[in-house]
Symmetry: C2
Subunit: 362 residues, 2 copies
Amino acid sequence: MKRVFNFGAGPAMLPTSVMEKARDEFLDFNGMGAGLIEISHRSKEFDAVINGTDELFRELSGIPDNYRILYVHGGAQMQFAAIPLNLLGLKPAHKAAYVDSGNFAQLARKEASRFGNVVCAASSEDTNFDRIPDFDVSALDPETSYVHITSNNTIFGTRWNSFPNTGDIPLVADMTSELLSRKLDYNQFGVIFAGLQKNLGPAGLACVLVREDLLGHALPTTPSLLDYSVYDKNHSLTNTNNTFAIYMMKLVLEWLKEQGGVDAIEARNEHKAKLIYDAIDATDFYVGSAHKDHRSIMNVTFNLANADLNDTFLKEANAAGLYALKGHRLVGGARASIYNAMPVEGCEQLVAFMKDFEKRNG
Amino acid sequence: MKRVFNFGAGPAMLPTSVMEKARDEFLDFNGMGAGLIEISHRSKEFDAVINGTDELFRELSGIPDNYRILYVHGGAQMQFAAIPLNLLGLKPAHKAAYVDSGNFAQLARKEASRFGNVVCAASSEDTNFDRIPDFDVSALDPETSYVHITSNNTIFGTRWNSFPNTGDIPLVADMTSELLSRKLDYNQFGVIFAGLQKNLGPAGLACVLVREDLLGHALPTTPSLLDYSVYDKNHSLTNTNNTFAIYMMKLVLEWLKEQGGVDAIEARNEHKAKLIYDAIDATDFYVGSAHKDHRSIMNVTFNLANADLNDTFLKEANAAGLYALKGHRLVGGARASIYNAMPVEGCEQLVAFMKDFEKRNG
């Protein structure tokens, strides 16, 4: 069985060794005679899994002790509601500021608007989100409960290289497509959330990192299973959680540790991205879609100068074992999602294919 | 590798053939060179999975065409909020009636109380939920938006044998621990919901069956990902769903079809339950906890007359490959959860163990 290089934006490829381990113990976890997916979230065996996931995450991220790790239902988009429900109450004005850097940032802002007074503090929509917009922190109303950004924009292939200093106003970041792909000073943030399905595990669950002083401010109409303090109180096991996703996350973190941790993976990610960006920049045949100063190292977006060749490019790439390179309809062209699990070899093969395709069609 | 008979209440055992199929194609679904867990929820391959799940569910359940099938985040307990948020608005009084037949019924009522005027219409708490309470439908306020019941009470081992006729007031049933374990006239219900992790698949997702005229009444503050009409509009794929759980559900439904469908599985479930209840009733050594007229065929709860023997019973059972028989702390004793996936042989071995244990300790 040959594994393809899967450039899909998510649910994304997982490291093959992780997939093999999960397969090998699928019917018999820890010699129990039952799979992890079949046992109670209250069992001592699962307890060891969730505790191990916490410990590995803390070790790999270096997140300070005053942040809690929550495993929450519904993926990142459920957080588009949970964030305002948990944080708007921090200040009486129930006000929040959102930076529109792409589709998911906008969706988050629109959902939050249903619960409070939400302003768009900056936007790059007029250039089709090809960059992170300028954001003037000094213009923020001090009565703002929080500021929301999307740290890496999966669809448009941009990222915040450094983060705004919002002072006493908590900064909230949707890091779905980049958590644990780069070093981070977690003290810059009040809350970070991420769906697992890009760098952390399978779909259906999100990880929330919340500074402990931000717990306990949920609006009265917050559904219990969106309330961070409820998750915190019960170690994310108020009800039956997605145990298999937490287990897979633990395997992914073990793998990340074997790779040398976040420092090593960030260096590798930068190398992988550079390989592809260099191939794009070396020719007029390919055109990068994101502004050079804002390029993501997780999602590399580009178009073929001759758009008529796009379908052929994608079809031939797929036949060459380079899977799911189609760009999102809002950008078109191609997108190489090269999360932590994508080997350097996958990027090298993509570059070789790009050069060969250009030679044959340029 | 020997598989245990897993009597855990959930996440519960899955059919071994389902587990084997999932394992065998874990790294390579449909010859794609990638696992199902690694591919996009927007791919044509996943589309075939979710469509196939719908079709099998309709075929096996015989649910009428005017009911929609939704796959919703968060398990059944998230529905404790979603139900009132979606249905209270059906009538101006924002009123709902709940029948307290156990722990989860009470949790559902308490969560709903946060969103509207919720009354407890009947309760069996005074007999520690050993039965389904008498419920006088004629006493319902006609301004009630819906009536909520828990059709099978996992912890206490009771079930509704037949369902109340609530007339024009929609009946909502939490069927987490029994959906597809028995034949049902779906027309009796407005909404049915069930976490997957007992009879349908792994934890982390719930299935909601909603009559189409009940869509579109969500309260204005309903988070989008709790709004049934949003799920309905986007075939449960507004955001990245728990694709692996939907896939596992499809495998479970294929297995159920191979077993002869719901008629056949119900007959087998009744046989399995009778084996254990007969063993309980044949002696004073064991004492059933549920009233005989309300006994569940999914969760068989019993105590040892001599409570001092309980720990030894559970320990020896476990050593004999009869896993997770410990009763819930609210009832004590033992609980045999014998969902669809539990083979007759597992119940036979449990009965043999019970008789042998009695012989040695009676």
